[in-house]
Symmetry: C2
Subunit: 155 residues, 2 copies
Amino acid sequence: MNKQRLTSTLNKAKQVCLEHGRKFTIQRKQILQILLTTDVPLSAYELASCYKLRTSSSVSVMSVYRILSFLESVNLVRRLNSANKYIAYGTDSEVFKRETSLFLICRHCQKVETLAVSHSDVAKLFPHFDDAGFTSQTKQFEMLGVCNECQAKLA
Amino acid sequence: MNKQRLTSTLNKAKQVCLEHGRKFTIQRKQILQILLTTDVPLSAYELASCYKLRTSSSVSVMSVYRILSFLESVNLVRRLNSANKYIAYGTDSEVFKRETSLFLICRHCQKVETLAVSHSDVAKLFPHFDDAGFTSQTKQFEMLGVCNECQAKLA
DNA sequence: GCACAATTGATACATTATAACATATCCATA
DNA sequence: TATGGATATGTTATAATGTATCAATTGTGC
């Protein structure tokens, strides 16, 4: 993510927090910024380490979990279930706009690409889904595999 | 799962193991049987407890993980990433037949329903999926929500 | 019996996550 | 100003999940 987009996302993130009557504290900002400026998902423990390296300050893992859970609740961060790691994305991204997302996670380089999926597509995608009478609360799907670039390298 | 289907699945499971040049040991059989006869997913630790209760024998958690990982490798068991738990299914099920599956996981009763998805449907219905040039190795999607029955109860 | 691979046991450890309670900070307002 | 409530963080302990390593056992073919 380039500098301009980062700044704009951080500003928007602050707005989002305020709109929820919550604060955009320095720690929340730092954690979000770390996630926005790394290209691979990070675990809570990795985030705590990163925090120490980048800021000459520190944050407890417990706080990292709380911060992540807060940032998730306002849709600024997502947890990848298949990796137990976390990602962020620009506030101009489809992920932030609360559509259903498909995360393509590369097993080699760990990078994650995001595609948007409409809810109607989801229903269409899975035959008999409507018959099942199941009320989905899921806004993300995860797919593991090999990305374009890694495939080229491996070939 | 009824008794007849259980027996047939266990027999088929033995075949599958032998076809892979591996054994269908008593422990593997017990673990599989526990998974086949529970209606909710179980964690490795829960399986170890269950094993003790049901068999008057026991198995180390380490072994449970090895057994699960083996059973997964021959497609007799699946791990649910969103719950860190494991499920099995009849050998007559679509899941066993290696199609892509969608697991509908109920947040209330924990029960899991399975739908089959063809690979071509997956590619077709995520817009821009082909553009991404991503090679998927995923054979399952997980959806959290509320099942039919629980919804009726809650209403 | 012996060699070999597959399986399991046992111990230790790593990683991920939550519980519980204390403290701090900020803001509205009495 | 102070005080009360909500929000946020610190601290410690512990639970839950998972892996590494090496030894022991079991079964099978020769």
